[in-house]
């Protein structure tokens, strides 16, 4: 049956055309190149920034246009996703198209070197005559061919002729399926992650326990357990570079500590599929102020927790520590050391904000009050990246498939070798050998030539 008769054109032409479109190599190459060009654009235009950051180098009209086109969150835009979907369809169609041929190629069909097969192999065919018994020739041929193939060929005897069939690298044919399916598996992992996983962030002060994290803009995710930060520490190298960030964390479930672990960068903590990564750190102070009037008479003292408006007893005012900076930049740009940003609210005047250096009294605008730092208690916090990604295992599975598939594709060729041995009436033995390979045919041809030479030397 010829190829054309196998596939009668039953359906409408359009189905064939769609199929041809999705299985065409042109589509693959165009998609790969389009995806790469689009990705270039995504690295030139910074992605997912705040609108203010774009306004510094783009006009508002351009920002709006780019926003509508999806240029500012390109990798999640409908058209980028469509390209990926098209690639997935393309891979599925090509896999379906090639699958039968791959399986056919892996099946042992022609184990007998008959004339029809010999005609297909003529280029690599070797014929040698020996003055040796057939058994001896067969023994030596198997030993020689066994160096590159197995020493246990498939032997078939047809009409006093022995056919030896050698084969190696059969699974090299799976390279196509592995590489292409691996991309689909990775996609499946990415989709699973975005549907059933989340990414979030949380700051935990030392000694504090949290059970909710912020996941995305204005979204809060409640965990069904809580996490306590027992302590946070930073080590520095002698030259001032950071050496180690450590958070001692406890996971608490139903009031009981179930895990305690010190996490570092590159060494996170996982509980119930949710992982906590060391990401950043910081600290804010609770400060006790002595407040004096302009004559230096003590009006009162106030313990002022960070960012909490606190009434100063004995003085008609409210204060709030609004900011704290470890390295305050003076107006000329030089380093000013630590500084406290204090907001002052009095009934008489509008609110005002001043910067105070610990150790020096801070005076408000018209000199009515001065503030002296009496107590300073730094509250450190650790910044944790929180992630749950049930799809990640698909991604690793796909990665392994991809690497194995690529290795098979480049380095494993499916080679077949046939050796036919028969004795003629005069007691001579005739050997015929030939082979095929599905990859790197040049190398295989010279490999066969070397084998033929060695076979010729058999005596």
């Amino acid at each position: 049956m010829s190829e054309e008769m196998k596939k009668p054109k039953k359906g409408p032409d359009i189905v064939d055309r769609i199929w041809n479109f999705f299985t065409s190599l042109k589509l693959v190459i165009v998609l790969l190149l389009v995806l790469s060009i689009v990705s270039v654009l995504g690295t030139v235009i910074e992605q997912n920034k705040l609108p203010q950051e774009y306004y510094s180098y783009l006009s508002p009209g351009t920002v709006e246009l780019f926003g509508k086109l999806g240029f500012l969150d390109m990798y999640h835009s409908w058209w980028f996703t469509s390209c990926l979907a098209l690639l997935a369809l393309n891979i599925i169609a090509c896999t379906m198209d090639r699958y039968p041929a791959i399986i056919r190629g892996m099946k042992k069909k022609n184990v007998v070197l008959d004339d029809k097969l010999a005609a297909e192999l003529t280029a690599d065919l070797t014929k040698i005559k020996y003055n040796l018994p057939a058994e001896e020739v067969e023994k030596q041929a198997i030993a020689l061919a066994g160096k590159d193939f197995s020493v246990h060929p498939l032997v078939t005897e047809v009409e006093n002729t022995r056919h030896l069939f050698f084969e190696t690298g059969k699974y090299g044919r799976l390279s196509f399926l592995l590489t292409h399916l691996s991309i689909l598996v990775i996609f499946a992992g990415a989709i699973t992650g975005s549907l059933f996983g989340f990414k979030g962030y949380v700051n935990v002060y030392e000694g504090e326990t949290i059970s909710a994290i912020s996941a995305g803009k204005n979204e809060v995710k409640t965990l069904n357990f809580s996490v306590r930060c027992n302590s946070f520490n930073v080590d520095f190298y002698p030259n001032g570079m950071p050496k180690d960030y450590r958070s001692d964390l406890s996971v608490i479930q139903d009031g009981k500590e179930v895990i305690r672990k010190t996490i570092r960068v590159n060494d996170p903590l996982t509980y119930q599929g949710i992982t906590f990564y060391q990401s950043s750190y910081g600290g804010f102070p609770d400060i006790t102020f002595d407040v004096m009037d302009k004559n230096g008479v003590l009006l009162g003292s106030a313990f002022t927790p960070f960012r909490q408006k606190t009434v100063v007893p004995g003085a008609n005012l409210t204060i709030e520590v609004a900011d704290y900076q470890e390295h305050f930049h003076l107006p000329d740009g030089s380093e000013g050391g630590p500084a406290i940003g204090l907001n002052i609210y009095t009934p008489a005047a509008p609110p005002e904000g001043i910067w105070i250096t610990p150790g020096q009294p801070g005076v408000n605008h018209d000199g009515t009050y001065s503030f002296v730092v009496k107590g300073f208690n730094m509250k450190k916090y650790t910044g944790l990246q929180v992630a749950k990604d049930p799809g990640v295992w698909f991604v690793w599975l796909g990665s392994v498939m991809l690497v194995v598939g690529i290795m098979l594709a480049f380095f494993v060729s499916h080679k077949k070798l046939w050796i036919r041995i028969r004795s003629d009436e005069r007691g001579k033995t005739e050997l015929t050998a030939g082979g095929t390979a599905n990859k790197n045919k040049h190398a295989f041809a010279s490999e066969l030539k070397r084998l033929a030479k060695r076979l010729q030397e058999v005596s």
């Binding site: 790969l32 995806l35 790469s36 050496k243 180690d244 960030y245 590159n266 992630a387 690529i406 290795m407």
Partner: protein, 280 residues
């Protein structure tokens, strides 16, 4: 530091090797060919010693880490991988004239490296990982294979132009270049080595990112550019294996692929912002 002295010597040896390979184009004597290979091999040995010494010296000063973490160290490692990959390709395929197109890389890269700060710095927390060595080595050996493919493809374009002319006008110089078919083959074979390595490099990077930040892929410019490079070579391989794209078209794609590789390695850090450490 003694390692800087050795690196300095290796720059001179690479320069010398480059000059020899270029003169080999003009005077193709077997003797000169051997000297070329010997000089490049000498450069490789001295540079390897320098890298090992730098590694050892990092322990001496109490830091103790593989010398693969900043721009300087990545450049010198890149130069070494190109020289080694080229030597292997030369030995396997016997195309010594291609050396004139590949050996400028180790020299130029080493010279550029010497302009960068080279003191041994300790590792910041993000780089303290077992994934560092496998990630960097696979990526850079992959890049080196692409660099050799680039040099050979360049030579191919010269050669094929010459072959199209008649023998008389071809000139002795181009006539003695390796056959275009062989160059085409080597251009492909080196990509066949580089592509799996780049793939493993991207995957180890993704795995590491997931351990450090909880995200295996965040479309950071470096990641995106490595994907772009991967896509270009994937297109090359599809075109070549399935459609039989050979010769000129393949050579041009190989050149484009390597230019993208260089941008991924240096351009991203110099022009864009991102997560990698040698921005500098």
């Amino acid at each position: 530091m003694t390692n800087s002295l050795l690196f300095g010597i290796s720059i001179f040896v690479y320069f010398f090797a480059m000059v020899l390979y270029v003169s080999y184009l003009a005077f193709r004597s077997e003797m000169l060919g051997k000297v070329c290979t010997g000089a490049l091999l000498g450069g490789v040995i001295i540079e390897t010693a320098a890298i090992l010494l730098r590694w050892y010296e990092s322990y001496q000063i109490g830091i103790g880490r593989a010398p693969l973490t900043n721009l300087y160290e990545s450049l010198v490692f890149f130069a070494l991988t190109i020289a080694v990959t080229y030597l292997i390709v030369e030995r396997k395929f016997g195309i010594k004239t291609a050396g004139a197109f590949v050996t400028p890389f180790p020299f130029i890269i080493m010279a550029y490296a010497s302009l960068n700060p080279n003191e041994i710095q300790p590792l910041v927390p993000a780089l303290q990982s077992n994934w560092l060595i496998s990630h960097v080595v696979t990526c850079f050996v992959g890049y080196a294979a692409f660099a050799v493919s680039f040099g050979v493809s360049f030579l191919y374009l010269f050669k094929v132009k010459a072959e199209n002319r008649t023998a008389k006008t071809q000139g002795a110089f181009l006539a003695h270049l390796p056959a275009s078919d062989l160059l085409d083959e080597v251009g492909y074979k080196t990509i066949a080595i580089g592509f799996p390595l780049l793939t493993i490099g991207i995957i180890t990077g993704a795995f590491w990112a997931n351990v450090a930040w909880g995200t295996y892929w965040s479309w950071d410019p470096k990641e995106t550019w490595s994907l772009i490079v991967w896509l270009i070579y994937a297109a090359y391989l599809h075109a070549r294996i399935t459609r039989g794209w050979k010769g000129k078209k393949a050579a041009i794609l190989s050149i484009v692929g390597f230019l993208a590789t260089i941008f991924c390695y240096l351009g991203v850090n110099l022009l864009l912002s991102g997560l990698h450490s040698y921005g500098g």
